[in-house]
């Protein structure tokens, strides 16, 4: 039978064909390009247009970048070296590097202090940012950091930050003692204890004030450059989170008066541009303070920016509170928890988790907004560029290098934070989908 079969079919292949490579158009880079760049006519045109745009941008930018001069005393020297060729005069960055970073008045020999504070910032932020990857012991350092950084940057008697810290410690101890009795007692007791500590500490510091301190005191008027942006950004964001939580809770509260106070505050702050608040800090606030008080400008600005940021963070957290299922509140009630306990143990941990991406967004926006202080004659990075650097005879006319540098610095920081926020969002997705 097998024979017949063989005869009826002229040829039967009994071995496998060797594997042929897929058609050229269906593999590797060609397939990828076909699918991603030239899938149809419109797409092809778009691709070509995009390529043209990229070429145009790079053909202007790259020669400028690679032909740049990094070492010259002035823009005229730069032009002489370049002999009319295209090229950036990056010498301004090397020449004024310290001024751009630290402002023009921070003492040269103390530059290591803010630099160290900046490096330590990462160590302090790590336990908060990566709680699962960093030993918890480092949290102590995070708590210590604000005082350490204050002392490093401002200098002066070491007792001031020590007493600042002590106030918090005393407050915490009192709170721990009293909170079992009632939350309110613990809360207000802690505040009073801390205030008393600071008051006594302030007197001691004043009494012991000596000219010879380990780190020379630097007045805050001398802060400037990118350091000022960093200081304003970190200080205001970290201060505004507790205020923001309080405002958000107040706005969600059942007590109408407290609710309306919070609503008015939040809506007022969100309704006006930051720049008008800075005007207030700069030209109006002094009239509202007791005569003889001299706040320095940086402190007034910190207060205003913190108020500004608190209102926005409050709205983000309110969103988080509203997004929690009602069952969580009811569950807390049914366990017999009172309001502070319910908030502290059940509601806020979840609400804050939901709000973290929003808070990071506000923080990035706020950090960018710190450049506005240049409008009220503070010499932050933008203020330094528009003021002392561009006004100087040597560098009058070096715009692109300076503005590009400022843009780059902000981009690196903000893009880094937003990438972190996206990573965190993925980490925090605990619910099952």
């Amino acid at each position: 039978m097998s024979d017949t079969h063989q005869q009826s079919i002229p040829f039967v292949r009994d071995t496998m064909l060797p594997e042929a490579p897929p058609p050229a158009a269906e593999t590797g880079i060609v397939k990828w390009m076909r699918e991603n760049l030239f899938s149809n006519v419109t797409n092809g045109i778009l691709t070509l247009a995009a390529l043209a745009a990229i070429y145009y941008l790079l053909s202007g930018f790259l020669p400028w970048l690679f032909n740049g001069i990094w070492d010259a005393p002035s823009i005229r020297a730069c032009r002489e070296i370049l002999q009319g060729e295209v090229g950036g005069c990056f010498a301004v960055l090397t020449e004024r590097w310290n001024q751009l970073l630290f402002g023009f008045k921070y003492p040269d020999e103390e530059y290591w202090r803010p630099s160290l504070a900046f490096v330590l910032l990462f160590a302090a932020a790590a336990p908060v940012m990566f709680p699962n990857h960093v030993p918890r012991v480092l949290f102590f350092f995070t708590g210590l950091y604000p005082f350490l950084a204050y002392w490093l940057i401002w200098g002066g008697p070491i007792l001031s930050p020590v007493f600042g810290l002590l106030g918090f410690v005393v407050g915490y101890i009192v709170w721990n003692r009293l909170v079992a009795q009632s939350f309110a007692a613990g809360f207000f007791g802690a505040i009073v204890a801390a205030l008393v500590t600071w008051w006594i500490g302030g007197m001691i510091v004043e009494a012991m004030a000596s000219e010879n301190t380990l780190l020379a005191a630097v007045p805050s008027r001398d802060m400037g450059g990118f350091m000022l942006n960093m200081i304003l950004g970190t200080v205001c964001v970290s201060l505004s989170i507790p205020f923001g939580i309080a405002l958000a809770l107040g706005r969600q509260s059942d007590m109408p008066i407290i609710k309306w106070i919070c609503v008015l505050f939040i809506e007022f702050i969100r309704g006006v541009p930051l720049i008008t608040l800075l005007f207030v800090a700069n030209v109006v606030l002094a009239y509202f303070l007791p005569p003889g008080t001299t706040f320095d400008l940086i402190l007034r600005v910190i207060i205003m920016i913190t108020m500004f940021a608190s209102a926005y963070i409050a709205e983000v957290i309110r969103g988080g509170l509203a997004a929690l299922p009602k069952g969580q509140y009811e569950a807390a009630d049914s366990l017999g928890l009172d309001y502070p306990q319910a908030m502290r143990l059940i509601i806020l941990p979840q609400a804050l988790k939901i709000s973290i991406p929003g808070i990071v967004n506000v923080a990035v926006g706020l950090f960018k907004d710190t450049t506005l202080v240049s409008v009220i004659s503070m010499f932050d990075l933008v203020g330094m560029i528009r003021g002392p650097v561009l006004a100087s005879t040597e560098w009058n006319g070096v715009y692109w290098e300076l503005l590009g540098f400022a843009a780059l610095l902000f981009f690196v920081v903000c893009y880094g934070i937003s990438q972190y926020s996206q990573w965190l969002e993925r980490q925090l997705q605990t619910e099952h989908r």
Binding site: W32, E35, N36, L37, S39, N43, L46, T47, A50, L51, A53, I54, A184, D254, M255, P256, I257, I258, I261, E267, F268, R270, G271, V272, P273, L274, I275, T276, F279, V280, V283, V284, A286, Y287, F288, L289, P290, P291, V364, K368, D369, T371, L372, S374, V375, V382, R386, G397, Y399, W400, L403, A406, A407, F410, F411, C414, Y415, S418
Partner: protein, 404 residues
């Protein structure tokens, strides 16, 4: 004998203010109110004391006095003899002008970039991602300054257009790009132009009527009328006809170099362009993200369902995806508009004479009335913000999913 169900009446004790939850909230509210009042009283008394010490007073009388300064761009009649109040109004109009221009441009840019970020073209997708990240992560103040520097330092001065063999020439003899701004032709409305404009407005109404009719016809009978070309025809043909029939009543006034500057035409100042474009491009990046998120929020099943019904891709976008995506896109869009309006106060960095430049700038400097001017300034922005938020609430309510 009264009812037995009455709870035993406890007499009110002072400690109940703290310990009884019924009264505790009153205590807290009372304390909060007192604290706020005390704070304001404290600040107010300081203010009174400081003003008395300095011999100053709070008075808005300066608003009616002549301002004494000139404003280069005004939408209303204004000169240096006009009052500070009028200067403020001119500033308000300038703020609104740049805000509206920037909102429109930012929306267009943002929608294009947002849709293109979802394009299946890899290069375009990456390019748009680059645009969004680059602009979102750099302060808008820096962008304003950069674009302003482009406007003033890169574009040529009007003198470059002068002479028999000028370095630069005008584009089409109608547009001049100088570092004092862009000059474009200005329409001159002659007699009869009102009719042309009237016809044009009528065509706009007609176009909308036609589209509505076509939609209704589609829903009622399933008959599909063409939309695109007829709409355009209705929009333009009658107006163009009227224009020629009436003997070209609208002429263009071309800018020409005369004296120090270009004369004639419309001058769009560099400061306006810098502010407008910087705000538009910066906010456009945020809007692009909103648009992308909005489109991605519409579940893929919707697209597939629409496709299985036989709709063409463009109709899927227009009839199925966008209406649902808009619900997600519009609320953040409006808050972006709010941000544009508030960020337009950065005009002060480039000398654009908005309300911050006139009332909060020169008027404040000249009169020294810091408290009054800053207060007015804040009230203005607050009013705008509240108006826009009210609009947003109305919209949110109207699109809320009506569950039946």
């Amino acid at each position: 004998m009264t009812t037995l169900s009455d709870p035993p009446r406890e007499s009110f004790r002072l400690s109940m203010l703290i310990n009884d939850t019924r009264y505790r909230s009153y205590t807290f509210q009372f304390i909060a109110l007192l604290a706020v009042i005390a704070l304001f009283a404290y600040l107010g008394s300081n203010l009174m004391y400081n003003l008395r010490e300095a011999g100053l007073n709070i008075s808005y009388g300066f608003l009616s006095e002549p301002s004494g300064y000139d404003i280069n761009q005004t939408l209303i009649e204004y000169d240096s003899r006009s009052s500070h109040w009028r200067a403020s109004v001119a500033g308000i109009l300038n703020t609104l002008l740049v805000a509206v221009l920037a909102c429109v441009t930012a929306t267009i840019l943002g929608v294009i970039a947002g849709v293109m970020r979802l394009s299946n073209n890899w290069l375009v997708r990456k390019l748009m991602a680059g645009y969004v990240e680059a602009f979102r992560n750099v302060p808008v103040l820096i962008w304003i300054i950069i674009i302003f520097t482009v406007m003033t330092a890169v574009l040529p001065a009007p003198s470059a257009f002068r002479g028999d063999d000028p370095d630069r020439t005008m584009l089409l003899d109608a547009f001049a790009f100088t570092n004092r701004g862009v000059y474009i032709p200005k329409p001159v409305w002659l007699e009869g132009s009102a009719i042309v404009v009237g016809v044009f407005i009528a065509s706009i109404i007609g176009m909308f009527w036609y589209r509505r009719y076509a939609t209704k016809l589609l829903y009622d009978t399933g008959k599909l009328l063409p939309m695109g070309w007829p709409s355009l025809a209705i929009l333009f043909v009658p107006a163009i006809l009227a224009y020629f029939v009436l003997g070209r009543p609208i002429e263009l006034d071309y800018p020409a170099l005369k004296g120090f500057n270009f004369q004639g035409g419309i001058q769009i100042r560099g400061s306006l362009i810098a502010l407008w474009f910087a705000l538009a491009i910066y906010t456009g990046a945020f809007i692009a993200e909103n648009v992308r998120a909005g489109i991605q929020a519409v579940s893929k099943g919707q697209t597939e369902a629409a496709a299985s019904l036989g709709l063409r891709p463009r109709r899927i976008m227009n009839l199925v995806i966008l209406p649902q995506a808009l619900r997600v896109i519009i609320p953040p869009l409006i808050s972006n508009y709010l941000n544009i309006t508030k960020n337009s106060s950065l005009a002060i960095a480039v000398g654009y004479m908005d309300i911050t430049g006139t009332l909060g700038g020169i008027t404040l400097n000249q009169t020294g009335r810091a408290i009054e001017t800053v207060l007015l300034l804040m009230l203005f922005y607050l009013a705008i913000s509240l108006a826009i938020s009210a609009l947003m609430n109305v919209y949110n309510n109207s699109i809320k999913l009506k569950e039946r």
